[in-house]
């Protein structure tokens, strides 16, 4: 396994090198020039600046005192000097032999350009709430998914891992949970609207912008309500020579934390109290630590990237990048690897006509972990993993996790290609017409194979079986926009109009078979099985959309800014009368600091106010919801030998009147800059109200849909209100360049309306533990999916207390005492109450960066407070399982405990209650990294302009009271989130790496 992977890797590396030789470059060395690079303001020398001949890759870097010297050819015309944090400087090459270059430091806030939907705008002219993540921040975290790099980076964006499995994708929520349905934002990658960006390699990304308020998102109409994340990939820049980048990183992953479970003898003592005499001699009880048995330490993760980019004669700009990512999980036989290739290119026909393409290719391969976390948690520590004869032993409480891993074979491969081709025409001086055809196509296949095995009567497979599943999807998107940009005196007008069409199709095909002729992977095909056992399935979907978009920006001397936008979306998901939705927005901005009356003090130099309002939609609902469909699985059983005979009837009552969910969002923001932008601050207040949320609504039973079948209807409202802030400090303390950033957001989520104020539709039960308990409830006045159950007020200490307390029937002394909310003397369903919300009140992130000479240190922290977690894995006990160590503090006589009940394996102590609620607040050391950058002068002889080596740690430490692996419990189901069922743990990672540029 390991061997073949290595070979694969070497092959891929060879390919990569081939690519790099494919590019040819030449050197003409005829004369020598020299000079020095200095700071324009201070006159200090600038070491490490890049000096190149424009349009070539011939160049060098300045040495420690800012001096440089290199050879150029006679043809060379322009010298280009650049340095991070400074404006690019160009000077003609003449007869000078010594060039003194004074670089002006960049005024980031003025020149920073922010990408917005269908365009870009200067940060100072922005009227919406948009956060950017750029550069190093995108590649800090050793993970395949780019979403991982956004943890704690953007105010108002919550990123939570569902699982720590290799290649897993976290859940994103922008400004709270806005709907009861799919609440995930959309991604726009180089103009293509997507839901899944697993094909992207973070090294190929230039910047990520998170669009939050209505002014920014309304241009995405019916898809913008959950927020929009725009991803711009790297491209070659005019005027640059060819630059090569290579980076390589090796990481080791390990468990950040283990769950504190009972040892063999501790467990035996507890069990003997529950079922006396189960273990006769506690001294002889085995002690198996199942976490040690299963989890591997220091599993490797490899990440290698190579890219080159540049421009040929300013006519052809290109970026080409390839990447290889390979991650082994801490659970054996779980891994993920991905190869990505990116080619972005632009060709300028003339100054007015430009064509280009952005193309991505990826191949992902994943081996899915066996579902062993709950087995590890449940397995009796008194059971041994392996029999004396070497076979897997029967494990009490659950199956044998080692056997489950050994017999689990589940993989998923995916090929994906995403890209677009576009053409830009400038005409009549002020107009640009752009047409772009984008596509997203993917092909995935998975296989699951279980061999014949026998471990115990409850863990066995009598016939081997195979399931295969293939899916393919294809989306095309045609966008046409016309842009009008006009300035006269102090008036700037920009108008954008557009028309887009999109079509999405999906199809899957799969089958299963039993009794394959062998276990070898070469036989994992349906044909290798017994024909009569073959079953197949095949389904598909298609949807389409047409949109018209319009936006106008007007600014008056950059003081007064106005933006108005309107998008109209038509979707096949709705019937004709409700097909088109209209999504307007309106925003104002005022740069107060540009007013004459603004005091010219040296403290506050910048002040901008902005306000926006708009309506945005959510169309992420199932395709066929509006149709009355025929259900063809209504089979009968007939015949003397009883066979299943096909039956079909009309399905449930449909709702042809479905329409869009609409979010109305108001945002007020303040941006401030102090002390020459050494301190920057931004605060936003928002109110986000979603109406017409689709929920199931009961209809009379006599309609004949069956019990509790509901009809999807636009009926619920939800509000998210909050404050977001961003604070940045940049300062030089002696030789140390320091910067500090903090962001945070406070969110209040409230359900305003459901389908009914009384009866079954006045709340929505969620959080199904699959033992009959539903531990969340969504009800008007509470946050979505709040935990719901009995409130524990102590332990029943003695007979007197038992006799005088309201109890659940069957409760005994030493059991949990529940609060009798309705004071009627018994504990029943009416005594359940709200026990907290899985939605945090406050999410935040800090990052610090310190640079001293060649060393730089960055530290990122991230966290949240106020959310609760339901310990579902502890609550579900259909059988006798191992216990968490809190059981050691159990009640064993009057006064011994008032929080931990006597040992029981079932009964009232396992009712849904606050006993299982834990505090989900945490503060995590997300990333700490120490980097050494070699001095440029020591590299120049190797033709290397930059070389960095680093060591970094990810998730090394988390401060949290939560007893499970990780306090981040993400879920795609918003009414059932925050329940820990025992998912694949998120790991801590230590990485070593290097990157170089030449």
């Amino acid at each position: 396994m390991q061997q073949t992977m290595k070979i694969k890797f070497i092959k891929r590396l060879a390919l990569l090198l081939l690519f790099s030789f494919y590019i040819q470059f030449s050197y003409a060395q005829e004369k020598s020039i020299s000079g020095r690079v200095l700071d324009f303001n201070t006159g200090e020398s600038l070491p490490g600046a890049n000096i190149i001949v424009k349009g070539t890759n011939n160049g060098t870097t300045s040495d420690f005192d800012g001096f440089f010297k290199f050879n150029i050819s006679d043809d060379d015309k322009i010298l280009l000097v650049s340095f991070i944090g400074y404006e690019i400087y160009e000077t003609p090459i003449d007869n000078r032999s010594n060039y003194i270059v004074r670089l002006k430091s960049q005024d980031l806030s003025i020149d920073e350009v922010v990408v917005i939907g269908y365009g870009s705008v200067k940060k100072s002219d922005l009227t919406g709430s948009v956060s950017s993540v750029k550069g190093d921040d995108l590649t800090k975290i050793p993970a395949a998914s780019i979403e991982q790099s956004l943890h704690g980076k953007v105010a108002g964006l919550q990123v939570s891992n569902i699982s720590g499995a290799p290649g897993s994708i976290p859940v994103l929520r922008i400004r709270g949970v806005g709907t009861l349905n799919n609440s995930s934002p959309i991604f726009v990658v180089d103009g293509i609207i997507l839901d899944d960006i697993s094909f992207l390699n973070s090294a190929d990304i230039e910047s990520i912008e998170v669009l939050k308020d209505a002014s920014a998102t309304a241009i995405y109409g019916s898809r913008g309500a959950n927020g929009v994340i725009i991803i711009t990939s790297k491209s070659g820049k005019s005027g640059e020579g060819t630059t090569f980048n290579f980076s390589s990183e090796y990481s080791m992953q390990f468990l950040q934390k283990r769950i504190d479970l009972l040892s063999g003898s501790e467990f035996a003592r507890v069990v003997n109290q529950i079922n006396p005499g189960t273990f006769n001699n506690i001294d002889l009880v085995a002690n198996t630590d199942w976490q040690n048995q299963v989890f591997e330490n220091n599993t490797p993760l490899l990440n290698i990237q190579f890219s080159f980019s540049g421009s040929t004669k300013d006519k052809y700009n290109y970026y080409f990048g390839v990447g290889y990512f390979d991650q082994q999980g801490v659970i054996p036989k779980s891994d993920y690897n991905r190869i990505t290739a990116k080619l972005n290119q632009t060709y300028f026909f003339t100054k007015k006509i430009k064509i280009g393409s952005n193309l991505s290719l990826s191949s992902e391969k994943r081996n899915n972990a066996a579902n062993v976390i709950s087995q590890i948690y449940r397995a009796w520590p008194s059971s041994l993993p392996i029999n004396e004869d070497g076979s897997f032993a029967e494990v009490n409480g659950s199956g044998n996790p080692l056997a489950s891993i050994s017999y689990n074979n589940s993989n998923y491969d995916k090929l994906r290609s995403v890209g677009n081709l576009y053409a830009d025409f400038k005409f009549l001086k002020y107009f640009v017409f752009k047409s772009s055809i984008g596509f997203d196509l993917g092909y995935g296949k998975s296989k699951n194979f279980a061999p014949i095995y026998y471990v115990s009567p409850t863990q066995q497979n009598v016939t081997n079986d195979l399931t295969v599943y293939n899916d393919e999807f294809f989306t095309w998107l045609w966008e046409n926009t016309l842009n009008f940009d006009y300035s006269i005196e102090n008036h700037n007008i920009n108008i954008l109009g557009g028309y887009t069409m999109q079509k999405m199709t999906f199809e899957n095909l799969g089958g299963s078979v039993q009794n394959l002729s062998g276990n070898d992977p070469s036989l994992w095909y349906l044909n290798a099985g017994e024909t009569p056992t073959q079953r197949s399935f095949n389904s598909g979907s298609a949807s389409s959309m047409i949109s018209y978009l319009f936006r106008a920006n007007y600014s008056y001397s950059s003081k007064y800014l106005i933006t108005a936008s309107l998008r109209s979306d038509g979707s096949s998901k709705f019937s004709k009368s409700n097909r088109f939705g209209y999504f307007p927005s309106f925003a104002l901005g005022w740069n107060l600091s540009k007013e004459d009356f603004f005091p010219k003090n040296k403290i506050m130099e910048k002040l901008k106010l902005r306000a926006s309002w708009g309506k945005i939609g959510n169309e992420k609902i199932p395709q066929n919801e509006r149709f009355a469909l025929v259900s063809n699985v209504e089979n009968a059983v007939f015949g003397i030998d009883e066979k299943l005979i096909a039956g079909a009837s009309l399905g449930n009552t449909a709702n042809p009147n479905l329409r869009w969910e609409t979010t109305t969002q108001t945002d007020i923001g303040v941006e401030m800059g102090f002390l020459k932008d050494k301190i920057k601050a931004e605060i936003d207040f928002f109110d986000r109200k979603t109406e017409d949320i689709l929920v199931g609504v009961s209809i009379p039973g006599y309609f004949g849909n069956g019990a509790f079948v509901r009809v999807i209807t636009n009926a619920a409202d939800i509000r998210n209100q909050g404050v977001e802030f961003n604070l940045g400090l940049h300062s030089n303390i002696g030789n140390i360049k320091a910067s500090f950033n903090a962001n945070g957001s406070i969110i209040k989520n409230e359900v305003l309306k459901l389908a009914s104020t009384t009866g079954d539709d006045s709340f929505i039960s969620g959080g199904n533990l699959s033992n009959g308990q539903q531990v969340t409830r969504t009800e008007v006045g509470e946050p979505i999916g709040s935990f719901y159950g009995y409130e524990v007020i102590g332990i029943i200490q003695n007979q007197n207390e038992l006799d005088n307390s309201a109890i659940v029937s069957g409760q005994e002394i030493g059991d949990l005492k529940f609060k009798d909310i309705d004071n009627n003397g018994i504990i029943d369903a009416a005594d359940r109450t709200y026990l907290g919300s899985p939605i945090p009140d406050f999410i935040f992130g800090f990052s610090t960066s310190l640079k001293y000479k060649q060393l730089s240190l960055t530290i990122d922290l991230q966290g949240q407070t106020g959310n609760k977690i339901y310990n579902g894995k502890n609550a579900v006990r259909p059988d006798l399982y191992n216990f968490e160590s809190r059981v050691k503090d159990r009640w064993h006589g009057e006064g011994t405990s008032n929080s931990e009940p006597r040992a029981t394996a079932s009964g009232a102590n396992y009712s849904a209650s606050s006993y299982f609620i834990e505090d989900g607040s945490f503060l995590r050391l997300r990333n700490v990294s120490l980097q050494y950058s070699f001095k440029p002068e020591s590299l120049s002889k190797f033709k290397i302009s930059q070389l960095n080596v680093y060591i970094k740690g990810t998730n090394l430490y988390t401060i949290s009271k939560f007893s499970g692996y990780s306090p981040e419990i993400g879920s795609n189901d918003v009414i059932s989130s925050g329940i820990d069922f025992g998912s694949y743990p998120v790991t801590a990672v230590i990485s070593f790496g290097m990157s170089c540029k030449f």
Partner: protein, 498 residues
């Protein structure tokens, strides 16, 4: 060069503009019309005889829902004096509310039952409404409609017995503002007419091919109609239809009482109406959880162990009545070579008071739903027997007795007694014989969800169930589910005292 490019530029640009216009005009309408893929929609369904058969088959599927007959668990027996909740004390504790008549109109199980019956009504209405329009073989068409009418009548009969007046729905898409229709009108307009139609157009049991065994027969429709009249105390009509079934000579009693409801006797000589199922833990694959909910709990693990036979039922059997052992599984009994150990977490026996003399309850199970095998899956294949010939005989006996034909009534009664290993009865007093027949019904049909409605019909429910909590004037009917009343904005009125 440059001018060429400019020309090209405009050409390309013009092309794009044209394309946009073309697409705008040409595709707009159809582009956004996406049909569901791989699924038939309402508009294309029920156009041919194949669809008619499919739609009729789908009715049988709705009858396999485990709460279709007797409300699941089954509630009906738990409410009667034949059974208590069962399982272990903590499991399904809400079922005690039925045992003690403490449930309210908000309990979900009543709602589920109500909805399951209307689901069958909907499926039947779809066939009754649409199949007549289809151009197809007339004989088959009538048979399919007759099958649907049988199920519609059966569902309404169950609804009326349980809830009294109910909304009358005879079309596929009813309006939102229905009120409760007088049950007598439903009897007249739907139940009796549907069954008369069904009797006319359904074939006898032996006229179905072997592949169609399990479909509704003329005999089933006749039995149901006899039962309907019996419930309405119309003994003349009840006698008429029961005798029609008996005289058709298509049925007889199984020699061995157990075979009347065991796997072995499925579709046997005694079976009049049974709902076939397959051993699959998935209703769409043919499973029915009816037996699984009542199967032996613990060892062997055959199910959940609800519907535990009551001490009253156990004690009601005469010493030599072979039906006692065939109806009740006692612990340590050996069935099909399997020793019944039961559920270790339940006390085997509980007593009524501290002196520990009178047994209140003991761990026993309903043997009628016993299915041999090693896993719970087999229980899902149990065919629920709704009418068997023994009941037809008892209906006839009861009606004949009321109509003054005691000798013939005794004939039929004694057939049933004989098989049970009991001596012939020779009672000729109408009142005494009536009680004898009622007792025979209880023991013959024990745990088959007949007892509760029998007690209501016989107007003895309060006398017998009063101690359990039965309230006169209230518990003769279940409550209309509160959710239905809420959804109707009060148009649906609740039953008395609920």
């Amino acid at each position: 060069m440059n001018t060429n490019l400019i020309k090209n530029k405009y050409k390309i640009f013009t092309c794009f503009l044209l394309l946009i216009i073309v697409i705008n005009i040409g595709c707009d309408k159809d582009f956004l019309e996406e049909k569901p893929q791989g699924i038939t929609t309402e508009t294309t369904f029920l156009k041919n005889s194949g669809d008619a058969v499919l739609a009729t088959n789908a009715i049988y599927s709705s009858a396999r829902e485990w709460n279709f007959y007797s409300g699941g668990y089954p509630i009906l027996d738990v409410m009667s004096d034949d059974a208590v909740k069962g399982s272990n004390p903590g499991d399904g504790a809400f079922l005690n509310l039925f045992d003690r008549f403490q449930f309210t109109s908000e309990i979900g199980d009543v709602s589920r039952w109500y909805s399951a019956l209307y689901k069958c009504v909907r499926r039947s209405n779809i066939v009754i409404e649409r199949v007549p329009e289809i151009d197809m073989d007339g004989k088959l068409k009538n048979r399919l409609i007759a099958e649907a009418k049988f199920f519609r009548a059966f569902s309404y009969f169950q609804l009326i017995k349980a809830f009294g007046d109910v909304p009358e729905v005879t079309i596929e898409n009813p309006p939102y503002n229905l009120i409760r229709t007088d049950k007598n009108k439903i009897y007249q307009d739907i139940i009796i007419k549907d069954l008369e139609f069904a009797i006319e157009f359904l074939p006898f049991k032996d006229k179905y091919g072997s592949a169609d065994i399990g479909r509704i027969t003329k005999g089933a429709a006749g039995t149901l109609l006899a039962d309907v009249y019996l419930f309405r105390n119309d003994f003349v009509n009840s006698e008429k239809y029961a005798l029609q079934v008996i005289e058709s000579m298509k049925y007889d009693l199984e020699d061995n009482y157990s075979d009347a409801f065991s796997i072995k006797g499925q579709h046997g000589i005694e079976s009049v109406f049974e709902i076939a199922a397959l051993p699959e833990e998935n209703p769409t694959l043919g499973g029915n959880q009816y037996a699984n909910t009542q199967g032996v709990r613990g060892t062997p693990n055959r199910g959940w162990g609800f519907n535990r036979p009551s001490m009253d039922l156990i004690n009601s059997f005469e010493e030599k009545d072979i039906r006692k052992d065939a109806t009740i599984i006692f612990l340590n009994e050996v069935i099909d070579g399997i020793t019944i150990v039961g559920d270790r977490t339940t006390p085997d026996i509980t007593y009524t008071d501290e002196t520990n003399t009178v047994i209140k309850e003991m761990e026993t199970y309903n043997q009628k739903v016993w299915v041999s095998g090693s896993t719970t899956v087999e229980e899902w294949g149990y065919n629920v027997r709704i009418y068997r010939y023994a009941e037809v005989l008892l209906i006839a006996a009861e009606a004949l007795n009321e109509n003054g034909n005691q000798p013939l009534a005794l004939d039929y009664l004694n057939k049933v007694r004989k098989r049970a290993g009991l001596d012939d009865s020779d009672i000729i007093d109408k009142e005494i014989l009536r009680n004898q027949i009622w007792k025979e019904r209880r023991l013959e049909l024990a745990l088959e969800c007949k007892r509760y409605f029998d007690l209501i019909r016989q107007d003895r429910a309060y006398n017998i169930l009063g101690d359990k909590g039965f309230i006169k004037g209230k518990n003769e009917l279940l409550p209309i589910p509160q959710n239905e009343i809420d959804l109707s904005n009060g148009l649906l009125k609740q039953n008395p005292k609920w």
